[in-house]
């Protein structure tokens, strides 16, 4: 009897680590059948009471007449809706942990010209911020460096993965150019208009000088590649090497530009430089020159939407209305929050844009298929279609409404645990134990 007890205790002790391990929620792949759902495909209409099958990383079937594979884990989605994972087209998620602590900020390198640095390098896959944000249905973001004229390269990343490479989507990198501005930097900026103009011209001169050099460097490099025997190898200049793919049109140039005069200058500059793959980001005053942007055919990553008007004389809701006005002028738009810790509010930025003129359908596209097309990954993500990556989420209602809850999130086919530190704090502290007792041990 005693021996039995001893054996039982030993067995129990041995089983402990295993029990604890399963207590940690982990993402998992497999075959999932999401049945009886309202499937909002974005590109192929809405399917009522349909089934969507996920196998490994892909969507393998969608429809009302879909056979459920025998090995599938069935998730009954009666009364629920499925949407493609939302894409935030401008964030610093993964590059920053705590705003005020320089040690935790990796979005800015020293110097004005650092096109050679790569945001993906500094993405922290284990940032506490990531699970907090993805449970709201945001599966994919652009994460971008800032500061100076050419702060580095932005990347498109999924909000799941244990290495930056696992998170990287479609190999997308964008060269960031923070375009010189004729505006003020904040309410505290009281420079005289002529000083602002002077600073703008100086910055433009610098940009043009850099670009002249980059174009020259590209010619030398091309000549060398064409005939390495005859032509000299270009000197090692990391900034210039980094700009090669942009000059050659292999990497898009993401120009951060907000104000109307700056946008017009940027359009002229792009034309003069003959750049083909250009994206505007920010575009706060895009509505003022929407026709010009449409004419130039440059897609815009618009936002933050929840933002103040750029001028005191402007109507109070111009930042909300901007995306809608650009869309109406024929500009291809996607929406960005410019956030890090609160990328989770992307659906509300889109929702405000929808309410103030963009409309619900267009707002939905602006956080799904439009950015996928702009970044050239619409074969992978951005809509619910057979063959695409299983980046999607399941809600109990309209994803733009604050009251709506997200039930499931899949990223790259992984079923993501709906768990994060903020939720755990809620579970722990809603009814704290002990409550007010001073000496809980005596009870």
């Amino acid at each position: 009897m005693k021996r039995m007890l001893l054996l039982w205790i030993i067995g129990w002790l041995l089983s402990l680590p295993a029990v604890q391990a399963t207590d940690v929620p982990k993402a998992r792949r497999g075959v999932f059948a999401l049945t009886n759902a309202r499937i909002v495909t974005v590109t192929q209409g809405v399917i009522e009471r349909g089934t969507l099958i996920i196998r490994e990383d892909r969507i393998v079937a969608i429809g009302t007449d879909v056979e459920i594979p025998p090995d599938a884990e069935v998730i009954d989605c009666t009364g629920l809706e499925i949407y493609p994972g939302f894409i935030d087209s401008g964030t610093q998620l993964g590059l920053i942990e705590i705003g005020s602590l320089p040690e935790t900020r990796d979005y800015r390198e020293l110097g004005d010209l650092t096109p050679q640095v790569d945001a993906l390098t500094a993405v922290n896959p284990n940032s506490v911020l990531i699970p907090v944000n993805r449970v709201n249905g945001i599966t994919t973001v652009i994460t971008e460096p800032e500061g100076g004229l050419l702060p580095g390269k932005a990347s498109l990343i999924n909000l799941f993965g244990y290495t930056p490479e696992q998170m990287h989507v479609g190999g997308v990198r964008l060269m960031v150019l923070d375009f010189p501005s004729k505006g003020r930097r904040g309410r505290w900026d009281r420079r005289k208009p002529e000083d602002i103009e002077k600073a703008f011209r100086k910055a433009m001169d610098k940009l043009n000088e850099v670009w002249d050099r980059a174009e020259r460097y590209a010619r030398i490099d091309s000549a060398y590649r064409a005939n390495p025997e005859k032509n000299p190898k270009p000197l090692y200049v990391p900034e210039m090497q980094a700009l090669l793919p942009v000059i050659r049109g292999e990497m898009p140039l993401m120009i951060k530009v907000d104000l109307a005069p700056d946008i017009l200058e940027a359009i002229q500059w792009v034309k003069k430089r003959g750049l083909k793959r250009v994206i505007f980001s920010g575009v706060a005053e895009g509505w003022r020159v929407a026709d010009k942007i449409a004419e130039a055919g440059i897609p815009c990553l618009v936002g933050p939407v929840l933002s103040l008007p750029t001028r005191e004389s402007d109507r109070y809701d111009k930042a909300y209305a901007n995306a809608g006005l650009l869309h109406a002028a024929g500009v291809k738009i996607a929406i960005r929050t410019g956030e890090a810790e609160n990328v989770r509010n992307l659906p509300y930025h889109a929702g405000f844009a929808a309410t103030y003129g963009l409309g619900r359908e267009a707002a939905l596209r602006a956080v799904t298929i439009n950015p996928a097309e702009i970044f050239g990954v619409d074969d992978l993500i951005g809509s619910l279609e057979v063959g695409k990556k299983a980046n999607l989420f399941v809600t109990d209602g309209d994803p733009f409404e604050p009251k709506t809850r997200v039930r499931y999130v899949f990223i790259d086919g992984y079923m993501i645990p709906m768990d994060n530190r903020q939720l755990r704090l809620y579970q722990e502290f809603l009814h704290r134990q002990p409550g007010l007792e001073l000496h809980p041990a005596t009870h």
Binding site: R184, G186, P193, D258, R344, L425
Partner: protein, 461 residues
């Protein structure tokens, strides 16, 4: 002659102070869905406003002759939103020169021309608790204002009769500005406690000295009064319970610290502002009767808000703490209704509970709940009319009414609503706000110093 001149001056003074009497309106709001907050939702209901007050609420009310009618069919009428933490409508925020500056008041620097008052109205906000900044442990006195945009007399903004309040600040901000910035205490949360206890002890001594003097004066007409000290006068008024404390705070430990200090000095009323970790000490807050005014979801912008949760407001509410959601931002204050809506998701509050977070609860925290914060007969006619339920993303604020006067009208107002053009800016240039522009204005003024010393402005939100 001089006498006539003085008389004229007095008369003029009398006239100008008399002019402070507020404009109040009559209105009839017809057939709206009325979200009273304290008495549920009333469908197809009319509201009659007389002389700036809610005179009647009911179905099929009679329109008195000459009263303007607003048709609210298909729309939602809610109490004017109250922002318990704001820095709009003032020309200075921080008197950062000493860890204790109780003597100053932001009410002295009200700016009625601030366009941000109008923009707040456009989000249905009718009352703002305009606060001193958080550079000091005991900062300046705050001012509760009504958004009477269009009035150009600064005094016209004051919510007459609102209780006095003062700003305290715990944690990273005062320790950074004073301890690390200027090498004077506090450098730590220990030092913050000491600064407060020290200030209260000095105020007690000051009160005792005056009491002794008052006693002695009865016997000795030539008794010498103690030296008058405005700072200690204000601190003494806090001890007497005449000034309500609103304490900028984040961490649970510093919240508990202030509760202990206040208990020791017999102070009963306190509102914790921001209070990202208030949820961790919700039972203690409830037992004390302390209140909390929080963000819907801001976090991670500094270390003391890293262990935050968007469920803060819900946990506090469920633990019986009177809680509000504030903005601390001229951007966020335009969509406080949306911030409140997030509690439907984060913690599952009811719609009435969510609305209370931006109406009756902040009113309680400012001591103005008898006047505003719900739609009841006899209360001030501060109302916001929305095109759809204000907790829906698809809602638009259509009209905002203060004291029965329409101060914001989405359909009628021109784009440019400035009351004047700032003469210091001859050319209006656009401002490039950039990302994460929701910088807390708590350290405004400090920001500028940081900027001039080539520290990144964005570093301190």
């Amino acid at each position: 002659m001089l006498r006539v001149y003085l008389l004229a001056c007095c008369l003029l003074l009398g006239l100008t102070t008399g002019a402070h009497a507020q404009r109040k309106g009559d209105l009839f709001i017809r057939n709206g869905t009325v979200l009273t907050v304290t008495n549920g939702t009333l469908k197809n209901t009319d509201i009659l406003i007389r002389n700036g007050k809610i005179a009647a609420i009911g179905q099929n009310l009679k329109v008195p002759e000459g009263v303007e009618v607003i048709d609210a069919t298909g729309m939602y009428v809610m109490p004017g939103i109250i922002d318990a933490h704001s820095h709009i409508a003032i020309s200075n925020v921080n008197e950062a020169t000493n860890p204790v500056t109780a003597e100053v008041s932001v009410g002295d620097v009200l700016n009625p021309y601030d366009i941000r008052i109008y923009r707040a109205l456009a989000g249905g906000v009718t009352v703002s608790h305009v606060m001193h900044g958080s550079a000091n442990v005991i900062g300046g006195q705050n001012e509760t204002i009504k958004h009477r945009y269009g009035e150009t007399d600064p005094d016209a903004l004051r919510m007459e009769g609102a209780p006095r309040t003062i700003k305290f600040a715990l944690g990273e901000n005062p320790t950074r500005v004073h301890g690390r910035g200027h090498n004077v205490p506090p450098l730590s949360r220990m030092g913050v406690e000491f600064i407060i206890r020290d200030a209260f002890h000095k105020a007690q001594r000051y009160m005792e000295a005056w009491e002794r003097y008052e006693q002695e004066r009865k016997r000795n007409p030539r008794a010498v009064p103690p030296a008058y000290n405005e700072r200690l006068e204000v601190l003494a008024d806090i001890l007497r319970g005449n000034i309500l404390i609103h304490a900028h705070s984040y961490r649970a430990d510093e919240i508990l610290m202030l509760l202990r200090v206040l208990k020791d000095f017999g102070i009963q009323r306190v509102v914790f502002q921001h209070a990202n970790e208030a949820f961790k000490v919700a039972p203690e807050l409830a037992a004390f009767g302390a209140m909390a005014s929080v963000f819907a979801d801001w976090w991670a912008y500094k270390f003391e808000v890293y262990y935050s949760t968007a469920y803060n407001a819900a946990i506090l509410t469920r633990n019986g703490v009177i809680t509000s959601i504030n903005s601390d931002s001229p951007e966020l204050n335009r969509h406080l209704y949306h911030e409140a809506a997030k509690t439907l998701k984060y913690g599952g509050l009811t719609e009435d509970e969510a609305l209370a977070l931006i109406t009756i609860n902040p009113a309680r925290q400012l001591g103005i709940e008898d006047r505003v914060g719900s739609i009841e007969v006899g209360k001030d006619a501060d109302l916001a009319i929305f095109s759809a339920h204000p907790l829906s993303i698809y809602t638009v604020c259509k009209k905002t009414i203060v004291d029965g006067i329409v101060r914001f009208d989405a359909d009628r107002d021109p784009d440019d609503m400035r009351l004047r053009v700032d003469p210091e800016r001859p050319v209006e240039l656009a401002i490039r706000w950039g990302d994460r522009q929701h910088g807390h204005r708590c350290l405004e003024g400090i920001d500028l110093i940081e900027f001039l010393t080539e520290t990144l402005q964005s570093e301190w939100q």
